[in-house]
Symmetry: C2
Subunit: 341 residues, 2 copies
Amino acid sequence: MTVADSSLAPVVLDRAREATQPALRAAVARLEPPLAKVSAYHMGWVDVQGRPVPGNGGKALRPALALLSAEAVGAPVELGVPGAVGVELVHNFSLLHDDLMDGDEERRHRPTAWKAFGPGLAVLAGDGLLVLAEQVLMESAGQGARAAKLLTDATAALIDGQSQDLSFETRMDVTVDECLAMAGNKTGALLAAASAIGAALAGADQAVVDKLYGFGHNLGIAFQAVDDLLGIWGRPEVTGKSAWNDLRQRKKSVPVVAALNSGHAEAGRLAELYVSPGELTESQLDAAARLIEDAGGRARTEAEAQRHLELALGCLDGLGIPEVTRTDLAALAAFTTTREL
Amino acid sequence: MTVADSSLAPVVLDRAREATQPALRAAVARLEPPLAKVSAYHMGWVDVQGRPVPGNGGKALRPALALLSAEAVGAPVELGVPGAVGVELVHNFSLLHDDLMDGDEERRHRPTAWKAFGPGLAVLAGDGLLVLAEQVLMESAGQGARAAKLLTDATAALIDGQSQDLSFETRMDVTVDECLAMAGNKTGALLAAASAIGAALAGADQAVVDKLYGFGHNLGIAFQAVDDLLGIWGRPEVTGKSAWNDLRQRKKSVPVVAALNSGHAEAGRLAELYVSPGELTESQLDAAARLIEDAGGRARTEAEAQRHLELALGCLDGLGIPEVTRTDLAALAAFTTTREL
């Protein structure tokens, strides 16, 4: 669905992970031992007993964007490191709390932190990571206060997005615009802050910071649209979740909302399934997926993903970003929006 | 237990509440509607349906300290308002999350927010208030970034304190020093930030800000020591909790820890009661309270409260604080440490 080349992405992500890990681990080690342990478990660094485990602890998309954002304005990559640490800490704060709120019991094939350590420590570890993110930025070289404000405002938007998402559960009149705005908050705001924070730390002009923010914001919406497609039509062996997972949970994802608002006859039949009592059977799930596709929900979502990816890439124009950095940013954009269905 | 006059305190608190309320309500109104409603309910402004209720929403101790902290360095009280709002928001963030962690089902004779709206919305509303506190300071006139860092560091200490408190539950070897350090984090850090934040916003010398911070920090430890005394010997009609409440929950409060570490014969008998299985009977609770008193736990806690109150008041010396402001600060200090047993 995109022309950019994603093959560079693994290298870019690996490099970012290596550049960020020492500062990220040092930051988490500042927490009281029980919170440091819960956080390290959640990050995939240790097991429940606190023993180191193999693995690299996630794909480091947000740190990579933060480091490239410093490079984009000609600053040394080191200046972006506190930004990379800050966005990764906020990302993990939100995962810790969202897993509890959503009742999710597994993450990366292990019990979620609240299942392993109880809700209290999971909430408190999340709080700890959020505050730590602010501290890391406020203490950093470069324009730390400016970067802290950027991240704080993005975190406020992320919380708004989670609230909107929760409120959609009890509504049948959600519009596609509301759904995209929610994605822009819940997923877009932090990718936006990540894409701008290195430039902010480096003292770049606000107009440049704003354009980089726009890149990440649109990328986040495209990312969420692709995620919504995977949540219905993704193959279990690729997504690690059961087929039709989002339909089983009756999520108001973009394809569903687009279908419900399509004006097609299928919309009413889909709405009936969504409000019917009890668990949906496999044949009802199969029917729902077909109704969404027939009502144009899949095509609309693919179009939105493509449109927001193009908007994202367009934000990189005219900023004088070094060609190598722009190629890396485009590779990450392609990588996050071309996951296999 | 103190010579200062607390009779002025109600007036000081009322004035602070009036000066802070409009900005505080405007800040909370920035949250998404479900979070604004949960927050307003938690603050005591509305009922579960969101309808306004009579009452003034708490005693405004932290806002009062913040406003006096601006006055203490000769700044107009208005300059302290974002600080007052910020500390009150962080205070309520911590109450929302602590009520859930501690399993508390009632606050001010109403169901706690997590009981009324579910754990998810209570966690998210707490997150929202924490981020809002940062935003209010970062957007404020005066030295907003400096004030935001002061509040962020205090919030990190507050979270450390809550973690320490939770870890005490499973330990029988807690020392009095650990207990006071925990109180210094859990209760002292935010009172410290409140007492310094107005001066920080007003651009006062760091040495002055540090002394005001010390005032609030010591006041917080004294406050917690008095709270611990009330948790055992407070009369239910005064505390609103059942007699021996902290013993029933086997809290490692200062009097208990002081008794356990006293070296007296009573220490062993108290430890036996604390590790015995099942709920403690009324006669066991009565026996525990007597053992604590006989082992000197009550006297030691009263002495620590008095000592930290004097340390707090000593921090106000030599700062050139206007006499009227100093009288108000001393009145608040007396008020928070002379609650009736």
